[in-house]
Amino acid sequence: MNAEQPTIPRIWVFVEQQEHQVHPVSWELLGAAKRLSADLPGSVVEAVLLGHQVADLAPQAFQYGASRVYLIDHPVLEIYRNMPYAVAVSQLVTEYRPEIFLIGATTLGRDLAGSIATRVGTGLTADCTELSIDPANHILAATRPTFGGNLMATILCRRHRPQMATVRPRVLPMPEPVPDATGEVVHVPFDMREEDVPVKRLRLIRAEEQPNIEYADVIVAGGRGVGGPEGFALLQELADALGGMVAASRPVVDAGWMDASRQVGQTGKTVRPKLYIAAGISGAVQHRVGMSGADVILAINTDPNAPIFQIATLGIVGDLYEVIPALIREVKGQSYDGQAHL
């Protein structure tokens, strides 16, 4: 039924929505898709949107760079479930044959991506941190950390299409939306009865609202060097003064000084704040992979050989219990004279 030439390379992005909220990683991916598109002659950037009564989200996708949105709107897609979503998206893929398909490496995205790839029989690179077009043969070069972040591997999918990749939130920059951008919405019919879905959601036990450090602009992070849970009150004070959030390294979380939702790093969150203050953090590779995308890194550590200094914009060799209080005084002091925001 598809009359269009399959030769147009389509770069697809899955727009993840739950409860009518789009996960920001979808927009980060549209930004990445645009950059890839510049290196892939003739290509177009398009979005895939599924759900029930979600058509009003399509304009956002245009603003972030999609020229077209494939929309499947159906009651069985009201809440995310693997089977109907995988079937619906696979159907789209088979029909429109995108060249590249990007999905956020969120809980939902990782559940879905593997199923789609298996259905359509293609390759999928999980949890990428970098995407580019291989200039030699115009294919996707998807780079991801392996072996505990010790090694980076660039994965290629030469013959199968689409070339699929999932990408972690916050490893790619958030593009600026273009307010009046528009595009085409393609409504795609979908045929499935609720009785045919083997899994039903009985209920959702909502967790307390979790702090979302992934999208914080300022992060004050503490490591084992903070010495105990009390010290984090001090970091919180600095974070408050700067309008940021407190985060932590893994030993801090393991010791129970901070909640796991605040862990930065390979097994925690990836963050890209404008300012990352690392206090009492040695800067192990597993920590760095989660924060080296910060614009500015300020590190405070008593050990002049701490690896964190290798990536810090400014490294301060000193006791955090001396430096942080002085910083707090300075930040607060300055805001009182003149800068009205605090």
Partner: protein, 287 residues
């Protein structure tokens, strides 16, 4: 797959290098595998435990563990037998080498079909992800191939009704815990919370030390489709591998040398440079 037999669970496990011990050769940039201890993928051992606990809860049943890997992976299977698995199958052949997640899911799905033909399978457990690859794709791939329901990030099995062919499973999602009802058979990929790993009793260790895992090759007892295994069956290839190039650092100054005031002044300059002074408290909390 029917409800007349006692419960039958299959667990797919993988042997992985203990990544907390992995080192990179600074000269060649390659992975030093030598001397790195191999362990059962941490999530997978919880998957085995969950299967064994389910068996105990139902008052009987059978747990079969499978792995695709090198001959050495037999060690990992034995650890699962210690943990309470009844049968262990090592799927090993040079021809499986170089498999990506698509090829791996083919082999495991095909093996499970064969196991199911012998004794119907009610539930399949996978780890959430393997710590060497962190892909979390093999489980979803196998469920898709077997065309059975998939529940990822499972943290608890609330109900398991063999006769009625249904189960209620909790899974962790960003908003909290989702409680799902599913038909059987179902495939779960599990978080560690699904079941704390117990210290295996000594008689099980002794049984495991005497146990010999079954060995399946690419051709016997099950012929696998040569087009779908190993490198041939893998759409993705590794283009290149390299050690992450460190972001280069700036200056390092010390309180001892410059004094606190000078250091703080420099720090303030860097903070200004980040253009963050005008932010409101609380930015970043996505509610």
């Amino acid at each position: 797959m029917n409800g007349d037999n006692p419960m039958h669970a299959v667990v797919a496990i993988k042997q992985v290098p203990d990544t907390s011990n992995v080192r990179i050769d600074p000269e060649t940039g390659t992975l030093i595998r030598e001397g790195v201890p191999a362990i059962v993928n941490p999530y997978d051992i919880h998957a085995v435990e969950a299967a064994v606990q389910l068996k105990e809860r139902l008052g009987g049943g059978k747990v079969t563990v499978i792995t695709m890997g090198p001959p050495k992976a037999a060690e990992a299977l034995l650890e699962c037998v210690e943990q309470g698995a009844d049968r262990a199958i090592l799927i090993t052949d040079r021809k499986f080498g170089g498999a990506d997640t698509l090829a791996t899911s083919y082999v495991l799905a095909r093996a499970i079909e064969v196991i199911n033909a012998e004794l119907p399978v009610d539930i399949i457990f996978f780890g959430k992800q393997a710590i060497d690859g962190d892909t979390a794709q093999v489980g979803p791939g196998v469920a898709t191939r077997l065309n059975i329901p998939l529940i990822t990030y499972a943290v608890a099995i609330e109900e398991f009704d063999l006769a009625a062919r249904r189960a209620v499973v909790h899974r962790r999602v960003e908003q909290g815990i989702e409680v799902l009802e599913t038909t059987l058979p179902v495939l779960l990929t599990v978080e560690k919370e699904i079941a704390p790993v117990r210290h295996a009793p000594l008689p099980r260790l002794i049984a495991a030390a005497r146990y010999k895992p079954e060995v399946w090759t690419a051709t016997a007892p099950v012929p696998f489709d040569p087009q779908q295994i190993g490198l041939k069956g893998s759409p993705t290839v590794v283009g290149k591998a390299y050690t992450p190039s460190p972001r280069s650092g700036g200056e390092v100054i010390s309180v001892a040398a410059l004094g606190l005031d000078a250091v703080v002044a420099r720090a303030m300059a860097v903070i200004e440079q980040a253009h963050v002074r005008n932010l409101q408290p609380g930015t970043g909390v996505v509610s």
